[in-house]
Symmetry: C2
Subunit: 385 residues, 2 copies
Amino acid sequence: MPDAILDDISHRRYNPLRGSWILVSPHRTKRPWQGQQEAATQTTLPKYDESCYLCPGNKRAQGDTNPNYKSTFVFVNDYSAVKEDQAEYKQTEDNTSLSSLLLKAEPVTGKCYVVTFSPKHNLTLADLQPSEIVPVIETWTQLYTAHLSPKSPLAQLAGATTLAPSSHQDNVSRPSAQYRYMQIFENKGAAMGCSNPHPHGQIWTTTGLPEEPAAELEQLIKYRREQGGVNLLEDYAKLEAEKEERVVFKNKTFLAVCPWWAVWPFEVMIIARQHKRALVDFDDEERKDLAEAISDVTRRYDNLFETHFPYSMGLHQAPLEGANAEIEASHFHIHFYPPLLRSATVRKFLVGYELMAEPQRDITPEQAAARLRNCGGELYRNKLQ
Amino acid sequence: MPDAILDDISHRRYNPLRGSWILVSPHRTKRPWQGQQEAATQTTLPKYDESCYLCPGNKRAQGDTNPNYKSTFVFVNDYSAVKEDQAEYKQTEDNTSLSSLLLKAEPVTGKCYVVTFSPKHNLTLADLQPSEIVPVIETWTQLYTAHLSPKSPLAQLAGATTLAPSSHQDNVSRPSAQYRYMQIFENKGAAMGCSNPHPHGQIWTTTGLPEEPAAELEQLIKYRREQGGVNLLEDYAKLEAEKEERVVFKNKTFLAVCPWWAVWPFEVMIIARQHKRALVDFDDEERKDLAEAISDVTRRYDNLFETHFPYSMGLHQAPLEGANAEIEASHFHIHFYPPLLRSATVRKFLVGYELMAEPQRDITPEQAAARLRNCGGELYRNKLQ
Ligand SMILES: O=P(O)(O)O[C@H]1O[C@H](CO)[C@@H](O)[C@H](O)[C@H]1O
Ligand SMILES: O=P(O)(O)O[C@H]1O[C@H](CO)[C@@H](O)[C@H](O)[C@H]1O
């Protein structure tokens, strides 16, 4: 590593993808921890739980019954944060008043889905084989395709891709309105607000372009403009593949790194090494490569502290509808934000300073990547059996 | 409330102080909660704990012994995130390379303090009388003053204010370098990463202007420029005092509101009603008013769910050093970010969608303010005795 001194001194690193800074204090890991401990994760879940609203054949909150699905299953969230139909809203205050400057609101409609990753209640992405993760990626791709604006340059492409109808789907027909963005994500583990261990993720689709993808898109567009048409994340993936020190995993299509600007202790980003705008840009081989990358990263995570490693994970890609410049500058990647810092029970809290001033991390991303590189191989809990 | 419909529909609200949006989904509170429960808070702490590194007379991590302080006590954090002295760092990579664009870092020096609020191990700000909070505010003011750039328009003013030397201080002499910003904050409760219940806050002072105050300053400066010299938070305080629906508490000098753009369920902002740039702008009466506001808000918080309400709290004010335009546009305010949503044990998780896409809240700020207005009066645990 050229700048070994960064292992010892406090410094800030710049995140060119968001356009923001983070504070790194490597010596701070020496601090003893006397605060909250996370609960050790339950390891004895049944394959089927009759009280789980995601298991095949069970009843859900609004009375619907789940089909006997074999791989993935998609349904409209029974407690959706946004809905297709709601009362109309127009700001009533007069436009010249202080209220119009300081009390601004806009309505949001959209659709929220739940996607199960497996019918088995006790599995996680880390337990699945890459071949079992492919249907999850196909399901995401189908949903993304079903919501794409017919005017998007991606729409034609999407039609051309034939995907196996591998999943059960409730209400996944084209939505009644054209939405702007689809956020695909997973909250895993009680520490990350997940209320059901059954392997599943969520998809929220909204009329507005949310803050995070909007900030990234702005930076991606700016980089193309300023650097003469090249892509920030393509350049970044190339650079990281050369440097190696932050790389956790790579195959032909994807690179998994602890990014230079990581906030969470073991944050990982899976980046498409070539310029891919969205899920629909991948072919069969590339989807297999993505499944392999997800499988590898989640397995390393669990191996690191020999626990079910909690995280929030999310896909960033082209908006469903947008200017061509936005869609062309988009670059497919996945963020993993895991909270654990030192062990299965000691997490990093992003609280006071982090909320009021600036994100702060203790170990360096290079140290995190080295540790993740060292825990590949079989899933620890399979070895124990 | 003019827009009662916002109680029922999903919408986004704009935060003019940060320049960002948040998603509000009021109907989502109907969702049952089956996830993680916070531990009920310990209520039987002793007044003095011999194993506490903050109690008077006890030994700290690096071997120092705390004085027998009577109100507040300040010392340099034994595990400081930033330090005054460290090895020099200059980015070694050549300036024209990809690295200089994508792997940017800068060194940070600074000083971190811990400030105890009371010698009693088992008290919190909510337990203290306003008159007992005044010394805390005086201590903050003294520290801020000691770190002000002699070139700041605030420096002269600071000299003129005479403050009672109410606190014990270790190493609070002028720092060896001029730092840019001082972040005063408190993490309260295990849920907010606090590792010691002894009432205390922290102060981190750094060479860089951190992200959050930087984003706010940009917006404050822009507002003055665009609106002809008036101040965003002065206008906002006036507007909220008229509207009343988001007001939690007010006195002559301060207004406490659940801001229009609140992210955390019971987020509160204490705003100086007139344009005050920093702690040094307050006189004795105004410090008493601030103590009253802090006392009122923290007591309402504890009363709401009859528990020691966790939160992160932080002061935003003028940078220690900066352009005059920055210092003049600064407006003193305090943010409270508390995680609890429904009860002493059920919190809001700002996770998947919130981290990947956009902050999302369930109850509206108006609903939160109404509930906080309804739980004033004596602290619940004093009534129980
Ligand atoms: O310094 P403390 O209170 O031990 O630590 C707490 O506050 C810090 C500043 O917000 C955070 O960086 C830590 O993650 C948190 O646990
Ligand atoms: O929808 P869930 O999984 O019940 O809820 C979880 O994820 C949501 C989306 O990130 C968050 O808004 C909730 O706070 C969290 O508990």
